[in-house]
């Protein structure tokens, strides 16, 4: 089975990360911004798994597990914050949320 070189995975992950980063900075809908953040998490996961195979070490894969868990916690908390903000102002735009007090 011919192995795909590590660099291919790294380039692919870099493309995915930059797409997520630009999307996070351009979009103003908080839900779409959170999904761009998920793209960045997963680009990092791809790098970790690729290095785990490169060095034949399971630590990278275990760290992907931790990252997925933290991403789940982040998504839950961020969506709860979005729900709270939506209750106050229905047409939410992150440019409008510039003060911490409600």
């Amino acid at each position: 089975m011919p192995l795909i070189p590590l660099d291919d995975y790294l380039v692919l992950s870099a493309a995915m990360f930059v797409i997520g980063l630009i999307g996070f900075l351009v979009r103003r809908n908080p839900l779409t911004m959170l999904m761009a953040v998920e793209l960045m998490w997963n680009a990092g996961n791809l790098v970790l798994a690729a290095f785990a195979r490169n060095f034949s070490d399971m630590s990278g894969q275990v760290f992907v597990f931790v990252v997925i868990t933290v991403a789940a916690a982040e998504a839950a908390i961020a969506l709860a914050i979005v729900v709270m903000v939506f209750r106050r102002r229905p047409d939410v735009d992150v440019d409008d949320i510039s003060v911490l007090r409600g």
Binding site: M1, P2, I4, D8, Y9, L10, V11, L12, A14, M16, F17, V18, I19, L21, I22, G23, L25, V26, R28, N29, L31, T32, L34, M35, A36, E38, L39, N42, N45, L46, A49, A50, A52, R53, N54, S56, M58, S59, Q61, V62, F65, V66, I68, T69, V70, A72, A73, E74, A75, A76, I77, L79, A80, V82, V83, M84, R87, R88, D91, G102
Partner: protein
Amino acid sequence: MTALFAACAAVLVLSAIGVVVSRHPVHSVVGLIVNFAALAVLFLTLSAEFLAMIQIIIYAGAILVLFLFVIALLTVGSDPIERTANKLPEQAGQAVIAGLVALGFIAWGIQADWTPAAAKAAPDLGTVGTFGVQLLTTHVFAFEATGFVLLVAIIGVVMMAGRRETGARS
């Protein structure tokens, strides 16, 4: 194998672009599901079977369903699309510049020589058994910390979203 990688890479990049450019959040979620499916296949090519499974079950099955619930809860009868004028006029240009800077840093990291010093034979890399043994022996602290993070997330979400609005404080 290489054709599979090329197909998955194309799907991954195209669906990522679709997530970012689509105007409606539900379309973004659909793009993200496609993206995560392609990523699960890439995990399989990296002999990370357990990660491919939890990518599908947890990410596509749990986190994206949470996104869908929130979208359904918030955008019923309203138009979630960005209609107001952008308050930061140069936002797109600066975002692209930031992306190019990040790409430069990443390219700098990719250039390094990452060939392993000694090629170890690991025939069962990434199987569920190996993963479980590693998770509960070598990385048991990370496992416990993961559980603690989830506990904190649950408490935080219940405190924030489960609170009833008391009084009119608009």
